[in-house]
Amino acid sequence: MDMSEAIVLCGSAVGAGLAMIAGIGPGIGEGYAVGKACEAIARQPEASGAVTRTMFVGCAVAESTGIYGLIIALLLIFLKPFT
């Protein structure tokens, strides 16, 4: 393995790690959403079905940014587009 290839591989690995910083946002957002859903269910237990459904859809939407980061990380590690 020559030097330039090694540098590209190293950069890909570091980049994959940096891409996963994107996981912070969805983590905070989903935790907040689930906490609010718990509050709502505690206040109105009869609405738990609708609250849970809405919460899951909201969590899924909030998760997309994290998933984008994950896909970039996977691409960098396994497909190695720059080598």
Partner: protein, 256 residues
């Protein structure tokens, strides 16, 4: 004593896309038949067989256990569509149920050691493209072609690029979300198997006994829970986006 090859566990980590079984060349255009297409047909056959089995010999009275299961499934998905999209979208139920079944069985096929159909991005992109077509058709149906085009310049014409972007982002995000979850889960499971096999090899065992049982706990989340969740979220988002494309209230019910 020599240990058979299939017992030694993964020697190296291999993560790749769907394997190409055959390819057809038409001029400069290559048509690839991948592993995914074969698995998709297997999934279709399983769903068809299950549907035929559950709906055989339906009766009004003295129903069998089979019929009770089939009725429960149909009723659950009908109620979901009615709650999410409203009563005038009830004709849409079969499509929602089809996508749900296809997604669940396509993901759960990974439990058998095969490649999950939904970890191939082209499959998800196809479903998302179909959703995009339905959304556009609904908008044109309720607003006319002029209303559809005018919707892009809403509320002010400056928003045109952003509106076009959000129109394209909707199906792309749906496809990427499902793909990322299933493919990411599959890669994490592959890493776990590889790591546990290496640990066993490190302490001098030829047969990786650590890969028995321990990955099942993770598989419960990454295979079972995540598959059901993603299938549910995919159809929920599909229903929300499509019903939002039409008018908000039931006023158009009489005219359509």
């Amino acid at each position: 004593m020599a240990v058979p090859h299939f017992l030694t566990g993964p020697e190296e980590l291999e993560v790749s896309g769907a394997k190409i079984i055959a390819s057809l060349k038409i001029g400069s255009f290559t048509l690839n038949f991948t592993e995914t297409i074969v698995l998709e047909w297997i999934v279709i056959a399983v769903i068809l067989g299950l549907a035929a089995f559950l709906t055989r010999g339906l009766r009004v009275k003295a129903v069998s256990k089979r019929q009770v299961i089939a009725e429960m499934a149909v009723e659950a998905i009908t109620n979901l569509v009615r709650d999410t999209m409203g009563a005038r979208w009830l004709w849409f139920t079969p499509y929602v149920a089809t996508v749900f079944c296809f997604s669940i069985f396509g993901s759960l096929i990974s439990l058998l050691g095969l490649k999950a159909v939904t970890s191939d991005f082209s499959v998800l992109l196809t479903w998302a493209a179909v959703t995009f077509v339905i959304i556009t058709a609904t908008k044109i149906k309720y607003g006319g072609i002029g209303g559809y085009l005018k919707g892009f310049a809403d509320p002010i014409p400056v928003m045109l690029p952003i509106n076009i972007l959000s129109e394209v982002a909707t199906p792309t995000a749906m496809a990427l979300r499902h793909f990322g979850n299933i493919a990411g889960g599959g890669i994490i499971m592959a890493l776990v198997y590889y790591g546990l096999a290496n640990v066993s090899r490190m302490i001098g065992l030829d047969v990786p006994i650590f890969t028995v049982g321990i990955p099942a706990v993770l598989s419960l989340y990454f295979d079972l829970f995540s598959d059901f969740m993603q299938a549910f979220i995919f159809i929920m988002l599909m229903m929300v986006f499509i019903s939002n494309a039409g008018p908000a209230d039931d006023a158009a019910e009489g005219t359509s």
